[in-house]
């Protein structure tokens, strides 16, 4: 437990309390500032290098905010579903839970999915894994996936028996499912077109489980200091390692929050130009795409997280 004391939060009483409660308006202000920087850089950042540098700093700040500053559940979908059920019952809690989603959703509607690209701590750590420990050789990829799957399964089944195994280990099980999906993609890249749709199933399942009142932790819960839950830690470790095989694999194939935000982002005011400039394997400007060089598939078009690493243009009227 001493390890987790390192995640002691700096903010222990609300800086800007909402009606004298635990809800701290300061975190909304901070998130607003971070997303404003993100959106502004997307709009007006002149070069990929500037955008990338700004993005890196913004992600560090965002990670520190969630890991060290505030106690705050950042499960947008979950808290918004819970918040909606609390309206008229506990309005203060409803506001605290729902407003985060409203704030982030608003930015996504305007600028596209900048939350995933500029704020999400899990996405940031996955990128670090992909960039620092990339596994490019096909044989080693399969080997690593096999080790991850076996190791994760052993941890779950052997060391953590539970009365309600599935509901208590949802995130860890989903991360093992991710390993299976990634393995299938590597075996036959043609399957990816279909496997990209698995995230829709996960999204529906996520909403159903949350609506039914099944409370489960997420892969970032241990990081943000909320639930230091075994399933959360196992899930995170698996997701982190898998990202070195396929960058941001969780974001591509599973992440329910990201999937929902991608849907919102499809109607964003700021759009990315059609394939041809960004989504072309031949275009050297796309080499830095944080979602990886897998852009032949049109379905990827709306998965852009506005990382700004390519020479994209905005608001092509063909869209």
């Amino acid at each position: 437990m001493n390890l987790f004391l390192l995640l002691r939060k700096i903010v222990n009483t609300p800086l800007i309390p909402v009606r004298g409660t635990w809800i701290d308006a300061a975190i909304f202000v901070v998130i607003f500032a971070i997303l404003s920087v993100a959106a502004g850089t997307c709009f007006w950042g002149r070069s990929p290098r500037l955008r990338q540098n700004t993005r890196f700093i913004t992600r560090i700040v965002s990670l520190c905010v969630f890991a060290f500053m505030f106690f705050r559940c950042i499960c947008l979908l979950k808290t918004s579903v819970v918040g909606m059920t609390q309206i008229g019952w506990d309005d203060v809690a409803a506001f605290g839970n729902f407003f985060l989603f409203v704030l982030i959703g608003s930015f996504v509607l305007v600028a596209g999915n900048i939350y995933c690209g500029w704020m999400c701590p899990l996405g940031f750590l996955q990128e670090i894994s992909a960039r620092l420990f990339p596994v490019k050789t096909k044989r080693f990829r399969f080997l690593l996936l096999g080790i991850i799957f076996v190791f994760g399964s052993v941890l779950l089944f052997l060391f953590r028996p539970a009365n309600d195994f599935f509901t208590e280990n949802i995130i860890a099980l989903w991360s093992l499912a991710l390993v299976i999906v990634v393995t299938a993609v590597l075996l036959n890249p043609a399957w990816e077109r279909v496997l990209l749709k698995t995230k829709y199933a996960f999204l529906v399942l996520y909403i159903l489980l949350t609506g039914a009142g099944v409370w489960f932790s997420e892969a970032w819960c241990w990081l943000t200091g909320n639930d230091i839950d075994y399933s959360s830690i196992v899930g995170f470790c698996v997701i982190f390692l898998v990202s070195s095989v396929i960058p941001l694999a969780w974001c591509r194939y599973v992440c329910p929050t990201g999937t929902f935000l991608f849907f919102l982002g499809r109607k964003s005011i700021v759009k990315i130009k059609e394939p041809g400039s960004c989504f072309s394997m031949e275009n050297t400007a796309c080499k830095g795409c944080c979602m990886g060089e897998r852009s032949r598939i049109p379905a990827f078009r709306f998965m852009c997280v506005r990382c700004g690493s390519c020479n994209y243009e905005l608001n092509d009227k063909k869209n």
Binding site: N12, F70, A162
Partner: protein
């Protein structure tokens, strides 16, 4: 009352001759299983026991809307009183002269005072009238404090009226004369859920402590409910306050859904220490004096029972079960040794050595009634210890399989 005393220390200090518990009786409320909803418990958060006319009786509320009176030695039902809603809060017992009363707060927003002998209603007080837009209240276990010649009843209750134009959400603290139900004062402290009040007398002054799910701990004057201080945390609070002493001061302790345990100075609300468990703490636990210091046993959803030194907030040991621990442990003595009885949602009841955490005895209880429960939104009852008139100690465990288990020592 809930928590054994108005400070919610959960330390009965009842002496059991050994840890060889055996099942004495098992009581079942009935075959009908009511559906699960949020903040519903099968039994009230705890029960209360009292001797009346030479017979030890046990009083407990139920999700069947009834307040039950059972004979503690045999488990035989003596009477039941039907209220208008689930009775999730532990009742409180008190005497006035030769009369004995039980007060229960139902989620139908009514405070009932019953004759403890017969179960007949003596008086009732409707906190908020029924309307089509009103939902079940969140009631908490009341306390009764003797104040001069009066018995002051303190009740915390949260209710909501979802009227379209004038939505009401109120957490109120109400002080009444326990004998006749006359209201002394009412105070709205929060819009969010509030938990069972705790009482303390410090330096001749009397205080009430109320924790709220809006993240605030309130200290009120006992006489009129005036706010003395309040402490705002950055997370909601999720347990009733517990009052105990360190070497230097009186402190009030409360838990949170993020596993943080706050220990505050009871006089001024300043934070003394905080402790981080892995997951939700929905019950503040129990305090026992061991080796000249107060030791706190805190249950958490991280599956551990944490043993913490109240003076410093450091962990002394922790015991792992296989699932969440949502109910408060209770402190007893086995011979000269302090022990802790804790029930885990892995369907086991554990008796642990309070010094080392070693398991002295374990019993398998039944599975919960419902296929699932909403984590931290369902209330789980805590065991109580009582002694019959012939000094036979009993351990009574209301459980979420719909039964009440009673153990004694062979």
């Amino acid at each position: 009352m809930f928590g054994v005393d108005p400070q919610h220390t959960q330390n009965s200090a009842l002496v059991f001759p050994s840890s060889s518990f055996k099942l004495a009786w098992n009581f079942h409320a009935g075959d009908h299983i009511w559906s699960h909803t949020s903040r519903r418990s099968v039994w009230s958060s705890s029960g209360v026991a009292a001797e009346i006319d030479g017979t030890m009786r046990f009083f407990i509320g139920s999700y069947t809307n009834n307040v039950f009176c059972l004979e503690a030695e045999t488990g035989k039902e003596l009477w039941r009183f039907p209220s208008g809603g689930p009775v999730n809060a532990a009742p409180v017992f008190f005497r006035a002269g030769d009369k004995a009363f039980v007060i229960a707060v139902s989620s139908d927003r009514i405070i009932y005072c019953l004759d403890a002998r017969t179960g007949e209603k003596v008086w009732s007080y409707e906190v908020y009238p029924w309307k089509f837009t009103v939902f079940e209240a969140v009631s908490t276990s009341p306390i009764v404090i003797v104040s001069g010649n009066t018995r002051q009843l303190i009740v915390s209750l949260w209710y909501a009226d979802r009227k379209p134009l004038k939505n009401i959400q109120k957490g109120e603290v109400i002080a009444l004369n326990a004998v006749d139900g006359t209201v002394s004062w009412r105070k709205t402290v929060s819009d969010s859920y509030i938990f069972s009040p705790a009482f303390a007398e410090i330096d001749g002054s009397r205080y009430l402590y109320i924790s709220s799910s809006d993240g605030v701990m309130y200290c009120l004057a006992f006489l009129d409910g005036t706010q003395i201080w309040k402490f705002s945390s950055s997370v909601p609070l999720s347990s009733s306050p517990l009052i105990t002493k360190t070497k230097a001061r009186d402190v009030v302790i409360a838990g949170t859904p993020f596993g943080i345990l706050y220990c505050l100075d009871a006089k001024n609300g300043k934070k003394v220490w905080e402790y981080k468990a892995g997951m939700n703490i929905v019950n503040t636990g129990c305090v026992c004096p061991i080796d000249g210091r107060n030791v706190l046993f805190v249950p958490s959803f991280d599956r551990f029972l944490h043993c913490i030194d109240v003076n410093t907030g450091t962990m002394l040991w922790r015991f792992e079960t296989k699932k969440y621990i949502a109910s408060s442990p209770i402190g007893i003595k086995i011979g000269d040794v302090f022990a802790v009885i804790v029930a885990s949602l892995d369907n086991n009841l554990y008796c642990l050595d309070a010094r080392s955490g070693k398991v002295l005895w374990q019993f398998s209880l039944g599975k919960r009634l419902w296929a699932f429960e909403t984590r931290a939104e369902t209330l789980w009852p805590s065991p109580i210890a009582l002694s019959l008139s012939n000094k036979t100690p009993f351990l009574i465990v209301p459980w979420y399989d719909g039964s009440i288990y009673a153990f004694t020592v062979s």
